[in-house]
């Protein structure tokens, strides 16, 4: 860029030179330079999906249709265990990112694997809980409360499922190509996704389970 436009932008241009409000020169746009921001905006839109489901639950959560209430259904020990799994998976993902920053491929892969195992444990416990509820007759069809509950918690579980599929894919990509720029970007995107799911889970265990037991 010429010095003329630079000074024009700063309002120091001599009167005889036209002020330019646009740039004619092309900037370099390195590959993936906007991926992180784009992914963040996706997460914000995902946040809106969860906000709608939380709103549904808040509105319908008290309509038991003479069926079971949260107090009759939820086992807080199980939920505490589940929360611990997700929290551990968050810190182990952090270790994977640290490994990547130090350029240690093996360490990144190991910690990603550990994260996946914690995620799978979370899913297994959640599926066990769902199976238990359905066995008790507390199916999504039973009451508005249960419909809203299964939709909200199930959507979160579905996100974790896709997170694990992505994680396995990423481990294969890392194994094939190593810590190249594209893979580093992917590790950071999945990091955002994974920690974002943990943030949503804070809302779930607080508003659905803990508040449910207080009702």
């Amino acid at each position: 860029m010429s010095t003329t436009t630079l000074s024009a932008a700063e309002g120091l241009a001599p009167a005889d030179e036209p002020v330019q409000f646009y740039e004619l020169n092309e900037h370099p746009h390195p590959e993936g330079h906007s991926t992180m921001l784009g992914f963040w905006i996706y997460l914000m839109s995902d946040c809106l999906i969860f906000a709608i489901l939380f709103a549904c639950y808040a509105v319908l959560g008290g309509n038991y249709a003479a069926g079971p209430a949260p107090k009759d259904l939820f086992d807080l020990n199980l939920i505490a265990l589940n929360t611990a799994m997700l929290l551990f998976s968050s810190i182990t993902y952090g270790f994977a990112v640290l490994g990547m920053q130090q350029g240690k491929l093996r360490m990144t892969q190991i910690w990603l694997g550990v994260t996946g195992l914690f995620g799978a444990a979370f899913l297994a416990i959640e599926l066990y809980e769902f199976a238990h509820l359905i066995h008790l007759g507390a199916t999504p069809q039973r009451s508005a409360f249960l419909s809203a509950f299964f939709t909200l918690v199930g959507t979160h579980g579905l996100h974790v499922t896709f997170g694990i599929i992505w994680l396995v894919t990423l481990m294969v990509q890392l194994g094939k190509h190593g810590l190249v720029a594209a893979n580093r970007r992917r590790v950071m995107c999945l990091s955002m996704f994974w920690h974002f799911l943990d943030v949503i889970w804070i809302g779930v265990f607080t508003f659905v389970y803990l508040m449910g037991m207080l009702r």
Binding site: M1, L6, N25, H27, P28, P30, E31, G32, H33, T35, M36, L37, W40, I41, M44, S45, C47, L48, A51, I52, F54, A55, C56, A58, V59, A65, A66, L76, I79, A80, T83, L87, S90, I91, G94, F95, V97, L98, Q101, A181, R184, R185, M188, M192, H195, F196, D198, V199, I202, G203, F205, T206, F207, L210, M211, M213, L214
Partner: protein, 124 residues
């Protein structure tokens, strides 16, 4: 003009990524454990009234969300030239309108509904 400071010697552009540190993750993890354990204990042991407990666990959830944002998601006002924060604030505004609006409207609808018999299973 703006010369890319991350432009390497080989002309390869490094993408700017948030820098994570062991310290951040450790602080975040310890705070999260504390902020999760206390609400669970409050609800399971019930040392306080339901109303106070509800207020405390909601406050803890709000603090824990901020902790995760800062220490795990590396949110800073300057990330991505401020656009991350801008989109976050926009999302929060929309969510607050949506949540508060839904609850407000539906509360009034419920209040104005025709009274139903107390035991719904008695309905035909």
């Amino acid at each position: 003009m703006s010369h890319d400071p991350h432009n390497g010697a080989d002309g390869h552009h490094e993408i700017e990524m948030p820098h994570a540190s062991m310290r951040d993750y450790t602080i975040g993890f310890i705070l999260s454990v504390i902020l999760t354990a206390i609400p669970f204990w409050l609800v399971m042991a019930r040392p306080l009234d339901a109303g106070i407990t509800a207020a405390i666990i909601m406050a803890f959830a709000a603090v824990q969300i901020v902790v995760h944002m800062v220490y795990f998601l590396h949110m800073t006002p300057k990330a991505e030239g401020g656009w991350s924060m801008t989109s976050l604030i926009f999302a929060i505004i929309v969510i607050v309108i949506m949540l508060a609006g839904s609850l407000w409207v539906m509360h009034h609808l419920n209040t104005n509904m025709m009274p139903l018999p107390h035991d719904l299973s008695q309905l035909p």
